[in-house]
């Protein structure tokens, strides 16, 4: 292995030697799965470019937590080293060890927010004399994603509403499945500890407040960043939060487009005929497109209220874009 950290000491370090042969064997049998076991040891793995990140356990561990953590680890490493690959691990092995210690303790994930980690684990190697390397209070705060004392001359928030259309059409041209997955991404340049409230034309909210349902959108499911107060949303559909600094994904939503308007484009492609000996099945046709300044769902940002105790005025900017997601047309 390139680098490893044994958090609990119950799995022998040599066990990992079984992993690659097992993986290869399963792949040959066509029985590859993200969870493999050898004797008493269970391997939970993900692959990032040409690296395998493998977690081992002897216990009935929480598998979704493990995969979620592995992906979070990839995210942190990527933010630290731009690219996560063999070279970047070797080039930064000291900091990788430091991060591994901070990300997890005894098998329990700890601080995995890379922005906060960067406040006390830095590449320049801290000198204690400077008194800098203290635990930022943010690490253990209830607001564990934003530090205090952030200052900007110009207070601004950029909101990107990005919708992807997933579509599955069979060879006869009938739509089997179509859904919109939207994400709202924020770029936050705000001083202090601002309280934000985002208003959408959410149908449930409109119903709750007795507004007309016209021009509202019914969201089937919504997922929020850690910073959003979920109980509050559950209670009165208010999206309220103290944002992290900089870029982050505030929320994602999903809605099916059943009953919407349907347009069919018939296109004729003249393609040169090429033959391949191997049969590879019939891959579907993928379609890519982008529609700026538009959301297919009709979702709108009605307001973004920003309140900070210093009372500054801040400007929200909104952009909308629709793009193709997993857009597949099966062929016959």
């Amino acid at each position: 292995p390139l680098i490893s950290r044994n958090y609990k000491g119950d799995v022998a370090m040599s066990e990992i030697e079984h992993f690659m042969p097992l993986l290869v064997q399963r792949e040959e049998e066509g029985a590859l799965a993200p969870l493999l076991s050898h004797g008493r040891v269970h391997f939970l793995w993900i692959k990032h470019s040409n690296l395998y990140l493998v977690a081992t356990t002897l216990k009935n561990a929480n598998a979704s937590l493990v995969y979620s953590f592995l992906y979070k680890t990839v995210e942190v490493f990527c933010e630290y080293f731009k690219e996560l690959e063999e070279e970047s691990i070797r080039d930064n092995f000291v900091i990788v060890y430091e991060l591994l210690d901070e990300l997890m303790d005894f098998g329990f994930p700890q601080t995995t927010d890379s922005k906060i980690l960067q406040e006390y684990i830095t590449q320049q190697g801290n000198k204690l004399e400077t008194g800098k390397s203290r635990v930022p209070p943010t690490v253990t705060n209830a607001v564990s994603w934003r530090s205090e004392g952030i200052k900007y001359k110009k207070n601004e928030v950029f909101i990107d509403v990005i919708e992807s259309v997933n579509l599955l059409v069979n060879a006869n041209g009938s739509v089997l499945l179509s859904e919109i997955v939207g994400t709202i991404k924020l770029k936050v340049f705000l001083s202090g500890m601002p309280e934000l409230r985002l208003g959408l034309n959410d149908r449930v909210l409109f119903e709750l407040t007795g507004r007309s349902k016209n021009k509202s959108v019914e969201l089937e499911d919504v997922k929020f960043h850690q910073c959003v107060r979920l109980s509050r949303f559950d209670n009165d559909r208010t999206i309220s939060f103290i944002p992290p600094d900089g870029d982050f994904e505030l929320m994602s939503y999903r809605l099916s487009t059943q009953g919407g308007k349907e347009y069919l484009m018939r296109a004729h492609f003249g393609l040169p005929s090429v033959e391949k000996e191997e049969m590879e099945g019939r891959p579907p046709i993928g379609v890519k497109f982008e529609i700026p300044y538009f959301t297919v769902s009709g979702i709108q940002v009605r307001y973004m209220k920003i309140i900070e105790k210093s009372g500054y005025q801040a400007l929200p900017w909104v952009r909308y874009i629709t793009q193709s997601g997993d857009y597949q047309l099966r062929t016959s």
């Binding site: 969870l35 209830a142 049969m279």
Partner: protein, 939 residues
């Protein structure tokens, strides 16, 4: 400049050089050297020889260097325990450092050094750190308690750290609370019985409050911990659910799944009539669907869990079929799981779409996926009757593709369809026969042979087809051989005149030329059947088969409930209980769903209380016939268990008679040749006249006439209490009749006459069926044995204990009273074998509160022996399954008053302790049934 340069020193004498550098006066050089050491360690070189030199670098004000040295210590301390002690002072000092990062680092590292000597010194610093002013140190110390517990549990208890840890659950800082919960949960796992977490409404409230404030990981620890709590009633369950549901909107899939676990578990306590129950069901679907947009590995975990959820509560996702449609670029493990869920959700409403999809998948390239898709079409046909015809025609289309594995798979499922809808789709047989030659997989060959045998009368050349298979008989796999044997016997019974030779041939192949015991057994059984009673043979072999059930791979209900408690964990991915893959005592407590308990102020009237709900609205899952009972598709037509006609005839007939004639009525001449005596294994050779009748004793206890177990007679009435009359007695049950076997002895000096007996009213209405007949007067010192027939039509009165029988015996001297306890198994009736499907439906239907569990200890029998022993006392094994090496016997018995008792007996090979779970609508009999099991099995 990057760190990679540290990896490049591979010169000779490297260790020496490093040693020198580590001891250098220059700070920078020291640090560089430590980095080189760590780099070597990373690539797997042994640098333990540098231990003292590295430890010397520990006292530094450079945090980065300190971390590296600590890392080195964690790696090598165990191999150098004596030297590790050198580090203790620095650790202790660092735990007092003004910088909380250093304090936390020291306490974190010390906990990872699994050396006893160091552990002792850890206690004082840890105690301080648990009360540190800085939450970062406290949260690290909380985890350290779990580490220390792993090394030395006793020490942690003695030092009172568990109490301190419990206090931290009330800490003001959410991260400290989360780690304390995680640590306590981890420790509690190794103390299953202790109420370490002390979950009560107050502590639950604290956890729910912390849930809103801690990190995503902390939320998972808390939710997983909540899932172990059993609310006191439905109100508390609902209020916890209400506070957990907002977590379903968290971006982290693991938070969502842990919340789903809590909700699925607590829902069990809510009445389905509650509005909130419906609300909750609706809230669960969207987040489960959204999980399918996560990374593939998380999708996989989600799908494996959805598979469980769909079985437990199919209503949640019944309208979401389409989201499980397979995408071209899904990884294969996702594709296979989606397919499985699609079949589970298939219904009349969506079957057209499902079939269209399955047909699409059947033309893909991945062999495993294609096979599964073809099989799925068959499962749809069986599940949704209205679609059967369409499924069959789809399968025929697929057979026309001539893709070998598609054809074979299609034939296997068509056989299942025949078994579900007999005499409906036989027109396709001709097409199937065309593909006979291309079948090279045993399962497909066996299926085809079954079809030919089953429909032999409609296939003109059935004999030729089967004969073709016979040529390479010994090269076939067992399942093909068994199937061929049965098919030819069927053919013979249908067309006896033309196929005599063929059947002789196969019987001789199966018995004389084979050393496979199963094949030989079956061969002999057919042989004997055919030779003794061809009419019976016809009845047995060509009997109408039970239709196969809808879903054959449902997880059995008790396991399913357990797995629901483990949503999100490895158990839920493997679909196995943790005890099956986690070693040792840890984590092997079986979890179960909480029983439904209404709060005392419940508004529901008792009539509508869930326990009394009519059975019709009970089942959440379509009664899970199949799986529990083993593979119903197995077409084994071996002798039906307990078949009295066979047994009785076999006793009457001698060997000669047996093997000769007999078939006359069927084929019109005594030309059926008996198996040569030499082929009968010596052990089966019975004494003169016994012939092959003993053969049957080998087969799951068929035809034992011995009857139920009879206890030795015990003294019921001692002579001194009855003026010289001593009564010993016992109870027997034989071929349906119960009797009381008495032994009367006259120990007095006078003759006794005029005996009579009476029973008091009792729980099961036992009464003498005839007067007590002592024919001659009983002289002094004379003993007489009497068998008093009993019936169960007497007056009934519930006794305490239930099996108490009060008896009065009169003679010329006086009336004497005594009471005795009769073993319950005398009340087990002969027709106590419940139909498989009925069993499952009943098992589901009887509320969980009625389930009782018992341990049967020190019973060295294996499953077969247990089964046959119990059967002779009318406890019938309906199915046997092997689950993770344990044998599970599903059994039923019926009492004389019509009460059914259902049992699950869990036997671990090599372990003489069995677990017996009993379910009965009259739970008060369970204890006595258990005693009957004990008595029967241990005698």
């Amino acid at each position: 400049m990057t760190d990679s340069k540290y990896f490049t020193t591979t010169k000779k004498g490297e260790i020496f050089e490093l040693k020198a550098e580590l001891n250098s006066d220059k700070k920078e050089k020291k640090k560089e050297a430590v980095k080189k050491v760590i780099a070597s360690m990373t690539v797997g070189k042994d640098v333990s020889a540098l231990f003292p030199d590295v430890v010397n670098c520990m006292q530094t004000d450079n945090l980065e260097l300190k971390k590296l040295v600590y890392l080195y210590l964690m790696n090598y301390a165990k191999s150098q325990p004596d030297m590790a002690i050198m580090a203790v002072n620095t650790f202790v000092k660092d735990c007092e450092d003004p910088n909380p990062l250093i304090r936390a680092l020291a306490v974190r590292t010390m906990g990872c050094i699994r050396v006893d000597k160091i552990t002792e010194y850890l206690c004082e610093p840890l105690r301080k750190c648990l009360k540190d002013e800085d939450p970062y140190v406290r949260k690290t110390a909380a985890v350290c308690v779990a580490k220390l517990h792993d090394i030395n549990a006793q020490l942690v208890e003695d030092q009172g750290f568990l109490d301190t840890l419990k206090d931290l659950i009330s800490d003001s800082n959410p991260m400290v609370v989360a780690n304390a919960v995680a640590a306590l949960s981890e420790i509690a796992e190794s103390h299953p019985s202790s109420n370490l977490l002390d979950l009560n409404p107050q502590s639950i409230n604290k956890l729910l409050t912390a849930l809103n404030e801690c990190t995503e990981w902390g939320q998972i620890f808390i939710l997983d911990c909540l899932a172990n709590y059993t609310p006191k009633d439905d109100r508390e369950a609902q209020s916890i659910c209400e506070r957990v549901t907002p977590r379903l909107s968290h971006a982290n899939s693991a938070v969502v799944l842990s919340a789903v676990k809590v909700l699925m578990k607590f829902m069990e306590m809510l009445s389905k009539d509650l509005d909130y129950y419906g609300t909750l069901l609706k809230k669960l679907a969207p987040p489960l669907v959204t999980l399918l947009s996560a990374e593939p590995e998380l999708q996989y975990v989600a799908l494996r869990n959805i598979n469980l959820i769909v079985q437990k509560r199919p209503e949640i996702l019944k309208h979401e079929m389409k989201v499980f449609f397979v995408k071209y670029n899904d990884p294969i493990y996702v594709k296979l799981e989606k397919l499985d869920i699609m079949i589970r959700l298939a219904s009349q409403a969506n079957i057209a779409q499902v079939l269209a999809e399955l047909k699409e998948y059947a033309t893909e390239v991945d062999v495993d996926f294609v096979r599964k898709a073809v099989r799925a079409i068959g499962r749809c046909a069986i599940k949704v009757e209205q679609s059967a015809e369409r499924c069959v025609s789809t399968l025929l289309d697929l057979i026309q593709t001539k893709v070998n594995y598609v054809v074979q798979e299609a034939i296997v499922v068509i056989k299942d369809i025949f078994r579900k809808y007999p005499n409906k789709y036989e027109s396709v047989i001709a097409t199937l026969c065309e593909n006979l030659d291309s079948l090279d997989e045993p399962e497909a060959r066996a299926a085809m042979i079954w079809i030919v045998g089953e429909y032999a009368e409609r296939i003109d050349n059935a004999d030729e087809l089967l004969e073709g298979f016979l040529e390479g008989f010994h090269d076939e796999s067992t399942q093909v051989q068994l199937q061929l044997l049965t098919a030819i016997v069927k053919l013979f019974l249908k067309k006896p005149t033309e196929t005599q030779e063929l059947v002789q041939q196969v019987l001789s192949l199966a018995t004389q030329d084979s050393d496979n015991p199963d094949l030989r057994d079956r061969g002999y059984i057919y042989w004997r059947l055919l030779s003794t009673d061809p009419v019976a043979a016809k009845e047995v072999v060509l009997a109408e088969k039970p239709l196969i059930s809808e879903e054959t791979d449902l997880i059995e209900p008790t396991l399913l409930d357990e797995l629901i408690c483990y949503i999100g964990t490895l158990a839920s991915v493997y679909h196995k209980p943790p005890s099956a893959f986690v070693e040792g005592g840890r984590g092997v407590v079986h979890k179960s769903l909480p029983p439904r308990t209404a709060s005392s102020e419940s508004t529901e009237s008792p009539e509508t209380a869930p326990a009394g709900a009519p059975p019709g609205e009970q089942p959440d899952v379509i009664p899970a016939q199949g799986d529990l009972l083993g593979d119903l598709l197995n077409l084994d037509l071996g002798p039906p268990v307990s078949s009295p006609p066979l047994a009785t005839t076999s006793v009457q007939m001698g060997a000669v008679d047996l093997l000769g004639g007999g078939l006359d009525s069927l084929i019109g001449g005594p030309n059926f040749v008996a198996p040569p005596a030499a082929t009968v294994p010596a052990s089966l050779g019975a004494p003169i006249g016994g012939g092959l009748s003993d053969l049957f004793d080998l087969t799951s206890g068929v035809g034992t006439l011995s009857g139920s177990y009879v206890a030795p007679k015990a003294v019921w009435l001692p002579a001194m209490k009855a003026k010289g009359l001593e009564i010993l007695g016992t109870f027997t049950r034989q071929v349906g009749s119960i009797s009381m076997d008495l032994q009367l002895t006259n120990k007095a000096l006078q003759v006794m006459t005029d005996f009579a007996i009476q029973f008091n009213r009792n729980s099961f209405g036992l009464a003498p069926a005839a007067p007590l007949q002592v024919h001659a007067p009983l002289s002094p010192n004379q003993t007489v044995e009497i068998s008093l027939p009993l019936n169960t039509v007497g007056s009934v009165m519930k006794m305490e204990p239930l099996n108490n029988l009060q008896v009065a015996v009169k003679n010329n001297i006086d009336v004497f009273y005594f009471s005795t306890l009769y073993p319950l198994h005398i009340l087990f009736v002969e027709d106590g074998k419940m139909d498989r499907q009925m069993f499952l439906a009943t098992w589901k239907d009887i509320p969980n509160e009625n389930e009782a569990q018992f341990q049967i200890r020190d019973c060295p029998l294996n499953a077969e022996a247990v089964s046959s022993k119990l059967q002779s006392s009318n406890i019938f094994t309906i199915a046997k399954r092997n689950v993770e090496g344990q044998d599970m016997l599903y059994q039923s018995l019926k009492l004389t008053n019509g009460i059914w008792v259902l049992a699950e007996l869990r036997i671990q090979p090599g372990n003489p302790s069995f677990t017996l779970s009993l379910k009965c609508r009259a739970p008060e009999v369970s204890q006595h049934v258990y005693q009957a099991y004990e008595t029967i099995l241990k005698n």
